[in-house]
Amino acid sequence: MRIALFITCYNDTLFPETGIAVVRVLERLGHTIVFPDAQTCCGQMHYNTGYQAEALPLVRRFVEIFRDHEVVCVPSSSCVAMMREHYAKIAAAAGDAKLQADVEALLPRVYEFTELLVHRLGVEDVGATYPHRVTYHASCHSLRSLHVGDIPLRLLSKVRDISLIPLPSLEQCCGFGGTFAIKNADVSGAMLEEKIKCIQHTNAEVCTACDNSCLMHLQGAMHRQRLEVGTAHIAQILASEHISSPQSSSKRKGKIG
């Protein structure tokens, strides 16, 4: 299948390793990845911060670029949530019937990465090996907007040699929240602290999630506190085939995977 990848602006800029892992996994499963290179951003940051007028051209641009693709893969549940929860409304508010029709036609073909694997491609075992203690953090958007449920855990449980440890208080927000992390830095920090205590409680080497946004926030604080816990997007775990430890957590803090 030809799968169009929407990498998202922050994965493109900050976490290329996630995109590389997505490509590896999907190609290993026999699919062809196309990367429409005019793509930039879904507009979530603008929209959620109150700059709704500024988000509209970005929405148009996304729809324009991906309109004709059979399947679109997005390794970020918050960007997919932005599309599913707001795109139709944005188009309607703009009074643009064509955009609205395009949105409605396109969105059923847009999948978050783990949704794509399990729901569209019907795969749970992607042939990965990852000999580490891993805990899974459910991002709020994957949990409450996309309702991915146990899809990520089903994928992870099929990974060879992995040791999965459940994260206590799984449903609590980690405190990232986009611009919330900056505008309400202290409260965000307090929420983060609570989440890190839960992660430490699992004694995991790696914390994973479907969203690098949460992970960047967790990773940043765990690095600040010099904790021996790394973070890795779920795609990086699912792409991993090596038996040997890819990067030792004690040497490269916060950069496993």
Binding site: G50, I182, N184, V187, S188, M191, H223
Partner: protein
């Protein structure tokens, strides 16, 4: 004499800061919200039709607001026919004036049932200014009043206090230095203190959970029975309710009284459910007034995107579920309405002049929407209000506002892949002076400094994903967009 200008409330991040350092308060809030959430979870899980109850509740509230004018007039008519008096108050000042006037013959004091609406309008201050002493009879409100404190939760106003702190307060305020701190010691102290007031105060003031248009009746649910005392013993009863409290029919209580107690206190039913209609000779208060309060609610009704704010039945479930509220408690919101519902209600009640930071006091995690018994999509309303905050800024301020400039700049970058690539390259150079020996960025200037207050930042990697992909397959896979 120059009038004393009332201080504007501090913004949320500022008000939150000292609370984040109050370990005792945070542990009290955590404990209380955990307990209530646990109870709520148990009694909600046993309801196979919970989701359809929520939907019915939502539809009832939606329908009521759509025909609010007729239901309010119907309520007025039926309540008057049953012997009650209905007053209409445009704002807080008008409501206070009406209540003070009616309470004038109260021998200098009035007993009160817990009511967030009277907190909203600052009724106690108005009564005191008129020489009438308001006496709170709800245990939590009594704690707040004796401690000269402010409510921090709409259902459990003294949620931020623990038992030992309450014992200290009672021991001091009631002059009982040897008071114990068992729950029965504290309730017994309150009982003895309050019983005197119930017996000797001729006027009671209450809020309302629901006003029933069909019958002209009022409904209050509570846990302690002190409300029941206020509703039956005094000669005069004055009820103050927001115009959003009306419901069409008595039958609607079937659904709402399943949703409310389970969501609010994790009980299947409240211990005391009071319903009364007008006056009855020789039984209960002989004079009954209802003050219907607008206080900008009709303005909220006018905004179709924010209207669902008024669906709220004040259960407080969103507060208990909110990870932000659970860190700071209610006082950070500088409003009687705290937590997610407060973050959308307060700025709308305050003309958006104040409370502009409140729509941003959320990580948009969606826990509030998930637990709301009438399905208010609070995250959606928060985002809508953020847009109103941004658009309310005068044009010249927007031109100078750093955030607005950054947002427009980012948009300009995102509207061209060339500019995005250029920005990525520039970022890699610009970050060099900020990278520390650890190889990470540990401090950033300006707004971004919020990030590095508790977090490091991994620098931009030498290659973006698109660069990697381009190098991997040199031929463009798609027709360029521009």
């Amino acid at each position: 004499m120059t009038p004393v200008k009332e201080c504007a409330a501090p913004d949320f991040p500022t008000a939150a800061l000292p609370l984040l350092h109050d370990i005792q308060l945070r542990s009290n809030v955590r404990h209380a919200t955990d307990v209530i959430q646990g109870k709520r979870f148990r009694v909600v899980s046993e309801m196979p039709d919970w989701q359809s109850l929520r939907e019915t509740g939502q539809r009832t509230r939606e329908h009521t607001l759509q025909y609010l004018d007729s239901y309010l007039e119907q309520f007025e008519e039926r309540c008057t026919a049953a012997g009650g008096h209905v007053h209409w108050a445009r704002d807080a000042a008008e409501a206070n004036r009406i209540v003070v006037q009616m309470a004038q013959n109260a021998m200098g004091r009035a007993i009160k049932i817990k009511s967030m609406t009277t907190e909203e309008i600052g009724l106690n201050r108005a009564l005191e200014a008129a020489g009438i002493q308001p006496i709170e009879t709800d245990l939590a409100e009594l704690i707040i009043q004796l401690g000269h404190d402010k409510p921090s939760h709409i259902v459990v106003p003294a949620l931020h206090k623990n038992r030992q702190q309450i014992r200290e307060l009672f021991a001091y305020a009631m002059g009982q230095p040897h008071l114990g701190d068992r729950p029965e010691d504290l309730t017994e102290a309150a009982r003895l203190y309050l019983r005197q007031q119930f017996m000797h105060t001729p006027v009671a003031i209450s809020g309302a959970n629901f006003l029933i248009a069909e019958t002209g009746g009022v409904c209050i649910v509570e846990s302690e029975g002190n409300g029941r005392m206020c509703l039956t013993l005094p000669r005069t009863l004055i009820t103050i309710a927001g115009i959003d409290k009306v419901i069409p029919n008595f039958r609607d209580l079937e659904v709402l009284l399943q949703l409310l107690p389970r969501s609010a206190t994790g009980e299947r039913m409240n211990p005391y459910n009071s319903l009364w209609t007008g006056v009855h000779p020789g039984d209960g208060p002989q004079e009954f007034h209802v003050v219907l309060l607008d206080n900008r609610r009709t303005e909220i009704l006018r905004d179709p995107e924010a209207r669902e704010t008024l669906h709220c039945i004040r259960c407080g479930a969103c507060q208990n579920a909110c990870p932000v509220y659970r860190q700071t408690g209610g006082h950070a919101y500088s409003s009687v309405y705290a937590g997610p519902i407060g973050a959308i209600l307060t700025p709308q009640l305050a003309l958006m002049k104040e409370g502009q930071s409140l729509p941003y006091a959320s990580s948009l995690c969606g826990a509030c929407y998930e637990v709301c018994p009438v399905k208010i999509n609070i995250p959606e309303v928060l985002i809508h209000l953020r847009g109103r905050v941004v658009n309310a800024r005068p044009k010249y301020l927007r031109a100078l506002d750093l955030e607005a400039i950054a947002m427009r700049g980012m948009q300009w970058v995102f509207l061209s892949k060339m500019r995005l690539q250029l920005a990525q390259r520039l970022g890699r150079v610009a970050q060099i002076p900020w990278i520390r020996r650890s190889g990470w960025i540990e401090r950033l200037p300006g707004m971004l400094g919020g990030w590095t207050r508790t977090r490091d930042l991994r620098p931009l990697p030498p290659q973006s994903f698109r660069e990697w992909f381009q190098k991997r397959s040199p031929l463009p896979t798609e027709v360029p967009h521009e």
